[in-house]
């Protein structure tokens, strides 16, 4: 059961006497071991955290068959809705039902307020940064951030220099990944400012949980999240180009073969907007239209789930068939809003991430409310040296990748894998960063044999930025379902949990 030398564990022999109500059925927690990581349910001394008492009570009171039956009925609900995700990196690229766990992840009201303030601060600073970097570049001129980090970033788009973006809003939808350290402190692992996904899983998890464990909801007083589609719609409306009081908003999808297609259709339907593909769009005289049976209809705001590279064959990759020719010209002319703007990838680049605290201080004159994780910039020779000497203890990531690909987890790697990464780092140091292996927090998960065991989790709240900042309480909690695994990404076999922010 032990996965790596850094992980220790001790047996919870005192559990039944230290829990506040002694009637817990030990079969549930038989395999529940604590180690150095922060445990969401149990404190260091083995006592149960107060806000988890009712939850554990309910789980213990339900017979195993009942729990299994509920799990199965929730499985069927997911199946009926076709909530699947494509898993790459194996022989097939197959569709699987998105794995999820029945036990919700709880966040107290005080914890959430702190997170919300931190995220609001962060997105505000990043939006100002993006405007600066694509206009005067004051932060670069004053040497706060080395120019090379920005200009060597593959997601920095020269085409965006000097372009006026409606209301100066670059990032409309952000997904920021948070981890919880040993101390219980929430820190930012990374920002996702280009095309963040997963919100549909958050919404469907909630809907299915309500049907599966309704009593718990009543006992707890969970803050609602169903308003996300309305909030997103109103945010998109608020960033329409000037002079368009009744804007037509569409969702641009790459199409049915995209791994997140389910989410695109779900959101479009919930918001009541048209779901379009590149081939439905026609640009004429720098105005964007969609081709309907009632003629050409003008489009004002595009919630685009297509990458920058593919969005316009005339301005970016010429071999792309997912975008629309001339779209960038319409954008430049100010006739259409793209959410998110093009070129936001420079701000979620993993190398730039290390400078975000400096960005917050520079533009807002404030100390960051949410801290970063310690990060080594490998283009710096001294830091690179240190990292190469300690590869077996660190996590190395390629700056441009997402989805957990292109990553080395030191303590779980083989010598051959480390050698390969050393080669890659020396060949292209700008492309890599390193961070310490974090023992981030674990949360109880229910398994098929009826036992409850802890697994590593993260948290991805979704931040909406338009005329105001809106953050729906909670977000997507992702779970590394494989024992000992630290990889939570859905594309590599992770799963999710419902996230409850308590009243």
């Amino acid at each position: 059961m032990i996965q790596g030398p850094a992980v220790r564990f001790r047996i919870r022999s005192r559990m039944s006497t230290t829990l506040s109500r002694g009637q817990f059925d030990n079969r549930l927690l038989r395999e529940y071991f604590l180690d150095d990581a922060y445990d969401e349910m149990f404190a260091v001394d083995g006592s149960i955290r107060p806000h988890y008492v009712a939850l554990l009570d309910l789980l213990a009171s339900l017979p195993r068959e009942e729990l299994q039956r509920r799990k199965q009925s929730a499985d069927v609900s997911f199946l009926m809705q076709g909530i699947t995700f494509t898993v790459y990196g194996r022989e097939e690229g197959t569709e699987r039902i998105f794995p999820y766990d029945l036990i919700p992840r709880l966040v107290t009201s005080a914890e959430w307020d702190h997170i919300e303030r931190g995220l609001t601060q962060r997105i505000t600073a990043l939006n100002v940064f993006l405007h600066d970097v694509y206009h005067e570049g004051k932060i670069l001129a004053q040497g706060v951030i080395p120019r090379e980090i920005v200009y060597t970033c593959q997601h920095f788009r020269r085409q965006m220099r000097g372009l006026q973006v409606p209301r100066n809003v670059y990032v409309t939808v952000a997904g920021t990944d948070l981890l919880r350290l040993k101390s219980g402190e929430y820190v930012v692992l990374e920002d996702n400012l280009r095309v963040p996904s997963g919100v549909s899983y958050m919404l469907t998890n909630r809907r299915i949980m309500k049907r599966t464990l309704p009593y718990l909801f009543r006992n707890y007083g969970v803050r609602p999240i169903e308003q996300y589609p309305q909030a997103l719609l109103s945010t998109l409306r608020s960033i329409a180009p000037e002079g368009r009081p009744e804007p037509t908003i569409v969702l641009l999808t790459p199409g049915v073969y995209n791994s997140a297609y389910f989410e695109h259709t779900y959101l479009a339907r919930q918001m009541g907007i048209e779901l379009v593909e590149g081939r439905d769009l026609v640009i004429h005289d720098n105005i964007v239209y969609m081709r309907t049976t009632g003629g050409l209809k003008r489009v004002d705001v595009i919630y685009r789930r297509v990458d920058d590279d593919f969005i316009d064959p005339l301005a970016f990759r010429p071999d792309s068939i997912l975008g629309a020719a001339g779209l960038f010209n319409a954008y430049r002319a100010g006739n259409v809003t793209l959410a998110n703007a093009l070129g936001t990838g420079v701000a979620d680049d993993k190398a730039l991430y290390a400078y975000v605290p400096a960005i917050i201080r520079y533009y807002l004159n404030e100390e960051p409310i949410l801290n970063n994780v310690e990060t080594y910039i490998l283009s710096d020779p001294a830091q690179r040296q240190h990292v190469l000497e300690n590869l077996d203890k660190l996590v190395v990531k390629a700056v441009g990748e997402s989805g957990g690909y292109g990553m080395l987890i030191g303590p779980q790697s083989t010598a051959a894998e480390r050698e390969e990464f050393q080669r890659r780092i020396e060949a292209n140091p700008r492309n890599y960063i390193a961070q310490p292996t974090l023992d981030f927090s674990r949360s109880p998960c229910l398994f098929d044999d009826g036992s409850v065991e802890p697994r590593h989790i993260d948290l991805r709240p979704y931040i909406l930025f338009g005329d105001k900042v809106t953050i729906v309480p909670g977000g997507l909690t992702r779970v590394a379902l494989r024992k000992g695994s630290l990889v939570v990404n859905s594309s590599q076999g992770g799963g999710s949990k419902d996230t409850w922010v308590l009243g």
């Binding site: 009926m80 309907t292 049976t293 003629g295």
Partner: protein, 320 residues
């Protein structure tokens, strides 16, 4: 609605109707081979291929079972029954959120049923299981469509596809039968002939309905009248064109802004001509030519639908 979505709905319906018709055509003709007949296998199956519009790359090569296998199961041939169902499902998948969950589930069900029943080699027994399952599946889809999808623009495009395909298939079938069966008729009509005529009616699910109108007394003129001009029977050409025109009118109203006048004129003219035609007049001229005229109009209607709603040029659209 988006032109692309209208296009996919149209083709979903057309492919399913095509699959149903082809399935029945093959099923009936395989059945007719069980009795002693004056029609040779070669003649019969060449007739079937002609009724299916002479699919490319499929030819009579003296092997009934292999031909039937190709026509029903071979996914490499776009004209096969299985390939049509797959195409319908692919079209529906592209517009998943425009159709109801029940519709999608029904179509998926059908797809999995026929995948399960597909034999590895041609065999009579499996055919008799497969074809009814397919026909039932298509009917179920149509039923679910009618009850779970709002009868708005999307539903109307489904009807347009279904009835245009039905009219085309029926007209082709009748034209082929006219040339092969009726044009060279002998004076006395005997049991063998009756079998063929009943076969024709059965392909259009028309035998019982015909009998209700005319009794079991079969004559060529009445068969022609029933399948071409009957106002109430769902598989008659007139009925199909009536429904087609109705749906086109509904679409014109819903989509306001497009210039559909030429399309409505052609469709309306075809509807009226069938409404006022008399079978004696048709017989006096040349039924084959009349039927081919209908096919030409159907093709024209298809082209006009594309021109007005789906592939109009940007210049034309902006000039509105």
């Amino acid at each position: 609605m988006l032109s692309r979505v209208a296009d996919s709905l149209y083709w979903t319906a057309r492919y399913l109707e095509r699959a149903e018709h082809a399935a029945r055509l093959v099923d009936i003709n395989v059945g007719l081979m069980l009795d002693l007949s004056r029609v040779s296998a070669e003649r019969r199956w060449k007739r079937v291929l002609a009724a299916l519009g002479h699919p490319r790359d499929i030819e009579w090569n003296n092997d009934v079972y292999s031909l039937v296998h190709t026509l029903v199961f071979d996914t490499n041939h776009p004209a096969s029954v299985t390939a049509c169902v797959i195409a319908a499902r692919e079209n529906a998948r592209q517009i998943r959120e425009e159709i109801s969950t029940e519709q999608w589930q029904r179509l998926n069900h059908l797809f999995h049923d026929i995948s399960r029943l597909r034999p590895l080699s041609p065999s009579d027994r499996q055919l008799s299981e497969f074809l009814p399952v397919l026909i039932d599946g298509v009917h179920l889809f149509q039923g679910v469509t009618d009850t779970t999808l709002s009868h708005g623009e999307g539903w109307q495009f489904l009807q347009v596809g279904r009835f245009l395909e039905r009219a085309t298939a029926s007209a082709t079938l009748l034209a082929v039968y006219h040339e092969d069966v009726f044009a060279n008729m002998e004076e006395t009509v005997d049991a063998y002939t009756y079998l063929e005529w009943i076969g024709l009616l059965r392909v259009c699910t028309a035998f019982e309905a015909y009998c209700k109108v005319y009794t079991a007394d079969l004559t060529y003129e009445r068969i022609l009248e029933f399948l071409l001009l009957d106002a109430e029977f769902p598989h008659s050409i007139r009925f199909s064109i009536d429904r087609l025109h109705e749906s086109l009118e509904a679409i014109e109203e819903e989509s306001h802004g497009q210039n559909a006048s030429e399309l409505m004129r052609v469709s309306g003219k075809l509807k009226s001509s069938l409404g006022y035609a008399q079978v004696s007049e048709i017989r006096a001229q040349d039924p084959a030519r009349y039927l081919r005229g209908i096919l030409d109009q159907c093709r024209l209607i298809h082209d006009l639908i594309y021109e007005v709603y789906i592939q109009y040029s940007v210049q034309t659209a902006l000039a509105m």
